[in-house]
């Protein structure tokens, strides 16, 4: 076992689908891109509640949460998720989002702690760079 391999840390990411929309193609594209960039990606599956997402993040000790939502319920669900993360002590987890989220909603979400929101058409390379740069250094 070489020294290099010994203290190998991987960035662990949860890609979650909060709410009731069933479109996860984008989420899976993002998941694959992050995997191809060397990260360990846990995909939650569809129709997750904020409680389920936060609990998964806790048990899996993730560094990053990516939220994919196309149903328009982000203004209800995201604040709840951020609140729960705080409550469970997961304060240094990087949270980003994507899907169908109108630009005018973004500032409020960022105030709540969502670091960045990426719209449709964002190149996966942008996402990968963003996660690598902003994931907590533990």
């Amino acid at each position: 076992m070489s020294r290099k391999e010994k203290k190998e840390r991987k960035i662990r990411v949860v890609i979650a689908k909060p709410g009731l929309d069933s479109h996860d193609r984008g989420a899976k594209v993002v998941a694959r891109a992050l995997r191809d960039a060397g990260m360990e990606v846990i995909y939650t599956g569809l129709r997750q509640t904020p409680e389920q997402i936060v609990e998964t993040a806790l048990q899996e000790d993730v560094d990053v949460i990516g939220l994919s939502i196309l149903s328009g319920a982000h203004n209800t669900l995201f604040p709840r998720i951020m609140q729960l993360l705080k409550k469970k002590g997961l304060n240094d987890v990087l949270v980003f989002a994507g899907g169908i989220i109108p630009q005018e909603d973004v500032p409020a979400l960022k105030k709540r702690g969502v670091k960045e929101v990426f719209g449709p058409g964002t190149p996966t390379t942008t996402l990968v760079e963003f996660v690598k740069e902003n994931a907590p250094k533990r």
Binding site: L58, Q59, D61
Partner: protein
């Protein structure tokens, strides 16, 4: 930040079943942080309560769905459960897609269930070590049952399954190669064979094929490996499977467990020793620049790897004796 963590506090948290402590502890071990060894040595005396199930088998056999059904039924019976779900790391990117949780969504909020997804990370023997220790953390946290799920392909998976008391090989009919696809080693290690997707028409044939093969290859005295038919979708066979698992647990309690455990412990000791010896020798050489000198000699074919290794060892042993 791991250096500032109070290890004893973490270990206490694990024993109390605190999920955050469990999560952090597994991460420390998985990432081979400096505290990992201390953590393991603190937890080791606390393990031994949980019944550990290893579930292996080809992709597509329905392992994750089967596990979900098993866990739900165990919960109905008042048992707490830990699950370690393993998926392969890509040898090219070093990343992994850990998708087993998708099949276990209903369980994520159950306080009596803990699920951790792990990637193999392609360490030689690394899968066995990290996954084994994660299972031990869950054992120390008080779970009645710990389930380790892997893909049954390759030596590592057979190794990790050695940490389990009861080994279940899950198959499904019509996966293509039927019995021929069962990897060498799986036939020998399986305590219970499960033919999942029992609703498929060739399920009965698969069951009889396995039974016939077991008849031919089994020379085990004592526990006779058997086959259970299940349908993870309908729930058929789940209760029967749990009964068989319980039967096996009772069988092990009669003393067989100690023999198997001793073998496993010896293997683990050899592994730990090898790792430490390699580290101490290799690191020492790297520091002195000798490593580089040697590799260059081998590159220019002045010597070969085996002779070089011999020389190193004898040099090292001489130095040790002098002291």
């Amino acid at each position: 930040m791991p250096l500032l963590t109070n290890i004893k506090q973490l270990v206490n948290g694990v024993q109390k079943g605190d999920k955050r402590s469990i999560a952090k502890t597994i991460s420390i071990i998985e990432n081979n942080e400096p505290e990992a060894q201390k953590v393991i040595s603190l937890l080791y005396p606390k393990i031994g309560k949980a019944h550990i199930l290893g579930i292996t088998g080809p992709p597509g056999a329905g392992k994750s769905t089967l596990i979900e059904k098993l866990v739900k039924e165990l919960r109905n019976r008042g048992k707490t459960v830990g699950v370690v779900a393993v998926d392969p790391t890509s040898p090219f990117s070093g990343g992994a897609f850990l998708g087993d949780r998708v099949r276990m969504q209903d369980l994520s909020l159950d306080p009596g269930v803990y699920i951790r997804s792990m990637a193999t990370r392609n360490h030689p023997g690394g899968l066995a070590r990290a996954t084994k220790d994660a299972a031990r953390v869950l054992d120390a946290s008080g779970k009645d049952i710990v389930i380790v799920e892997t893909v049954g392909a390759g030596q590592s998976e057979v190794d990790v399954v050695k940490v389990a008391h009861t080994i279940i090989v899950a198959l499904a009919p019509g996966l293509g190669d039927d019995i021929q696809a069962i990897k060498a080693g799986q036939m020998e290690i399986g305590d219970i064979f499960v033919v999942n997707k029992a609703d498929r028409e060739n399920a009965n044939k698969t069951v009889s094929d396995i039974e016939a093969m077991l008849e031919m290859t089994t020379e085990k005295k004592g526990w006779k490996p058997l086959v259970v038919k299940t349908s993870a979708l309908t729930g058929e066979g789940i209760a029967e499977l749990l009964e068989r698992i319980e039967e096996h647990r009772k069988y092990l309690k009669k003393g067989v467990i100690d023999e198997r455990r001793k073998e496993r412990i010896e293997d683990e000791l050899v592994e730990a020793l090898t790792q430490k010896i390699t580290e101490s020798i290799v690191n020492g050489l790297k520091q002195k620049g000798e490593w580089n000198k040697l590799t260059l000699k081998i590159l220019s074919r002045e010597t070969d790897p085996y002779s070089a290794a011999d020389k190193l060892l004898s040099k090292r042993l001489k130095t040790a004796r002098k002291r």
